[in-house]
């Protein structure tokens, strides 16, 4: 059972992410928070609580309301219990500078939100890869 935490404010993009996961026939448990504040609160409660409830994967939209993806990423990497969880950043932009910064802050991957079905399926494949690698 793959526990995934997604921080994304656009419901359309949340649903696309769900479709991507469904296309791989993965068993997953998806939690969604729609802004940076809720994301930080969830992370704090996970860090304080049962390690068995820790997510296996965290996916962050770079442009979140209240606290952006970068801030949430920093918080995650500052928590010893969460430091090793794979984090994927989602972005609508293509800026290589943003990508470099995200990797520097500790993201495992930086991917563009899908523009079509093909990109959606590619994201699904990438997610599976990241999780498999982190479990190895």
């Amino acid at each position: 059972m793959l526990r995934i935490l997604l921080a994304e404010d656009n419901p359309g993009d949340v649903r696309l992410f769900l479709e991507a996961l469904n296309s791989r026939n993965l068993q997953f448990d998806l939690s969604v928070v729609e802004d940076g504040q809720k994301a930080l609160a969830t992370i704090a409660s996970v860090a304080a609580g049962d390690p068995a409830k820790c997510p296996d994967l965290i996916v962050l939209d770079v442009n979140l309301p209240k606290h952006n993806g970068d801030e949430v990423l920093r918080k995650i990497r500052a928590e010893p219990k969460l430091r090793d969880i794979p984090v994927i950043m989602l972005t609508s932009s293509e800026s290589p500078a943003d990508q470099a910064r995200a990797i520097d802050l500790g993201a495992d991957l930086y991917i563009r939100k899908p523009s079509d079905l093909q990109e959606l399926l590619e994201i699904a494949r990438v997610i599976e890869d990241v999780v498999r690698r982190s479990r190895a």
């Binding site: 656009n10 359309g12 696309l16 479709e19 609508s92 932009s93 939100k113 899908p114 523009s115 079509d116 079905l117 959606l120």
Partner: protein, 265 residues
């Protein structure tokens, strides 16, 4: 002694003294004017670039939604959409695809408006050509095109910019082909401190009254018959003129075209 009848009358009004024209001061003035103009151009093109970037960025998100969800609809409900439904879906998807292409062309065009800061390097046009032929391989195979070239000397330029020009000219030649499979021949000559490239094709040809306007942005000659945003040649012109060169076409309907552009040495 009386004044000679041809002598000019003594002026009663003192003319203002003309300032000495100091060549150095004049040159300094000209330099300053050039610098002012360059910075005004840079500001203007910077603003335009920012405007285009903002527009394309803000359009991208709703377009992603339309594109992704119409494809998902087709995937999951396509079979239930009979006849008309399928046709409607096709128009939606095609419309989105055209919007995406246009936006991407627009961003590309606006990037070319920027002053080129990257230093010039020695570029091998034959290497550029190989890359472009690979990129266009599917289209080349599809229309059985034959693309040949004479020896192309190295030039001082930017690899990817030269690739853009090559790709646009070849792609146009493939697209605007006549009844026969496209034959494209590329040559280069060096004279007067510049290298002139020539792309000759056996395609439809272009009426002389359109020879200038095809290099303007958003001017398309063929309407819906041939897809395209009308920006390709405008981008080529931006690239070429920005580095001090020229681009033009020699062509007649039914007699193919020769597109020429120069790069200063």
């Amino acid at each position: 002694m009386s004044p000679s009848p041809n002598a000019a009358p003594t002026s009663l009004v003192r003319e203002p003294e003309k300032p000495e024209l100091d060549p150095q001061a004049l040159m300094a003035m000209l330099d300053e004017m050039r610098a002012l103009r360059r910075s005004a151009e840079a500001r203007h093109s910077g603003e335009l670039m920012q405007f285009v970037y903002t527009i394309s960025h803000d359009f991208r998100e709703p377009m992603r939604m339309i594109s992704s969800y119409s494809q998902l609809l087709k995937l999951h409900y396509g079979k239930q959409l009979e006849g008309d439904g399928q046709e409607f879906m096709g128009y939606i998807l095609e419309g989105v695809s055209r919007m995406e292409r246009f936006l991407s062309d627009l961003v590309n065009y606006s990037q070319q408006l920027r002053q080129l800061d990257t230093p010039l390097v020695s570029v091998d046009p034959e290497g550029v050509l190989q890359g472009v032929l690979l990129t266009l391989d599917a289209e080349i195979q599809k229309c059985s095109a034959e693309i040949t070239h004479d020896e192309l000397p190295k030039v001082q330029f930017d690899f990817s910019s030269l690739g853009q020009i090559f790709q646009q000219l070849i792609s146009n030649a493939l697209q605007f082909r006549g009844a026969n499979p496209p034959r494209i021949h590329i040559t280069a000559t060096q004279a007067n401190g510049e290298t002139e490239f020539a792309f000759r094709d056996n395609g439809l040809g272009i009426e002389s009254r359109y020879h200038a306007q095809i290099f303007d942005a958003f001017r398309r000659l063929h309407g819906r018959e041939f897809p395209g945003s009308g920006l390709g040649l405008a981008v080529c012109r931006q690239i070429v003129e920005r580095s001090g060169g020229r681009i033009w076409v020699e062509s007649e309907p039914g007699a193919g075209s020769v597109f020429r552009f120069t790069i200063p040495n």
